[in-house]
Amino acid sequence: MADYTAAERTIDLEDRRKQAGRRTFLKAGGFVAASGALGSLGALVPGVSTGSNQRKRARWIKVVDRPTLGETNADYKRFSGFDMFALYRPLKNERDGAGSFEAEQASKAKRLAEWTNEKKPGFSLPDRHLSEGAFTVMHSAKPGVGLLSWTRASGHTPEDSGTQRYTASPEEMANTVKAAARLYGAGLVGIAPMNEAYVNLQVPHREQPHKDQPEKGALQKDQHLTARQHDGEHPSGEHGKEQPQTVQPPQDMNIVFEDTDVPAVTDTKFVIPRKMKWVVAIAIPMDLDLLSRAPTALGDAASALGYSHSAFVVSSLAVFIRGLGYEAIPSVNDTAQSIPFAIDAGIGELSRLNKLVTPEFGPAVRLCKVFTDLPMAYDKPINFGLVEFCKTCKKCAEACPSRALSFDDEPSFKTKGPWNNAGHKAWYEDSYKCYQYWQKSGSACGVCLASCPYTKGDQAWIHEAVKATASIAPAADGVFRIVDNAFGYGKQHDPEQWWTKDSQFGRRG
């Protein structure tokens, strides 16, 4: 180099620059090509983000005008609100004699204590309290108060800020609300029209706030539950803040629809304004790694966490909607049936479990919803071949330890007990048997959810390929069921390994 003249050096540097430029160009070209190839590959791999706030659904999920199991008859009416949690005690005492429920509970408590002392896998002290900890948020969520307040829990309305309520086209509104719900933790979101037939007749007493709730002592027992606190009425003078509210109603409270402007909770009833014609239906994915340890106390943490996430999502979304200038009623399992709303909103289909199965997460979801008067574009139901698959598969029914699920080939109108909401075609389940097994196993079971062939992780391409094929070729359903068994899917994973696992696999959404 030292022998080079300045001119030669310049020419040499020019050549090098050109060569470097060519190399850079080729490198950049290669990078772009590789990125393109990876992007194309990414589009094929399930679970890859689309970069949008909306979950892009697979092409094999067909949008239809009517739900696949939507047939109803004259018996279909509003459900009482009394599910197995409310019915089990009287039914148990009726079937097995007075005091049998209390005896069963005592026996269960003793058995659980023994299992914990013996460090039975899935029932150790950490296992049991993992579930309790996961349920914490849900424990403080009762219809009409606290997180699930029907009125303005916190935050400000547009009027508070001196602005107008937010307006946009129904499609934009739907996208806005869905984006917010996704941010708060929703796995799937859809908009369904309000259907009064899906709303329960009553809120059972046990679901209402009582004296060990956080609102304890704030008001007298017979005091009127507050509806929205209008401007200037709050004793603290805070604008638009919710009053502390509590009540210990002595009876079950009716849920009624009225031509009012705002939702209200009185000492006798829950009032839903008739102008609330939109329902944001939400599915929260459960932690599959925990669910695969069911039926244990450890496995219960998957449900518990799902419920707490649900309470968080709907309460956050309700505050968001109120902030846009509209009314919102957040609801988890209370107030209305989540499944039919989720079906109408295109989140999934009704299955042999008599529960919702989603194409993405199977039945391993917790459902919740928000009623609102915010005008949004409705979604439509979907069909991904699930009903045909359920007719052939029956894996959940075989896996159910209590034989509570139907083995019938076809869905029917035949119910199994007062816990079922009659009048629609379904594979009705025997919830009494199911709940009795809960007492025996000391857990909330969940084996049916874990065993469903649609309950799969989102890592392997094969799951997506099987679901896609099942949606268009029901003839292959039987083969898929056999292969699913052969691959060992749906079997219980060792509960002890959960605490030491290094896998990141688990919650999806």
Partner: protein
């Protein structure tokens, strides 16, 4: 690729293979990639049995593919000894 003694060039021979051979090779490669992806994903998902089956399938597929390649390649090579590139227009010669 061969190098003639003393020559300062290489001879690169590109052997023409029938379409079905490439189709079969492509299918094999695709299956191998998908099987390996299933095996790795099953490990991530904690599905031990699915992972084991997928690993076995991937290894068997790989062995079968390599053996088939060697067998087909060998039969082609034996055939090559009786013909020179000049005699067979399907064999293209590049010099450089």
């Amino acid at each position: 690729m061969t190098m003639t003694n003393g020559a300062d060039y290489f001879i690169i021979t590109i052997r023409r293979r029938p379409v079905w051979f490439w189709a079969l090779a492509g299918l094999w490669l695709l299956l191998e990639i998908l099987t390996l992806q299933t095996a790795l994903a099953s490990v991530q998902e904690g599905e031990a049995r699915a992972a084991t089956i997928s690993w076995i399938a991937a290894v068997v597929l790989a062995v079968v593919g390599v053996l088939a390649w060697l067998r087909l390649g060998r039969s082609q090579k034996l055939g090559e000894s009786s013909e020179r590139p000049d005699d067979n227009p399907s064999l293209v010669e590049h010099q450089g």
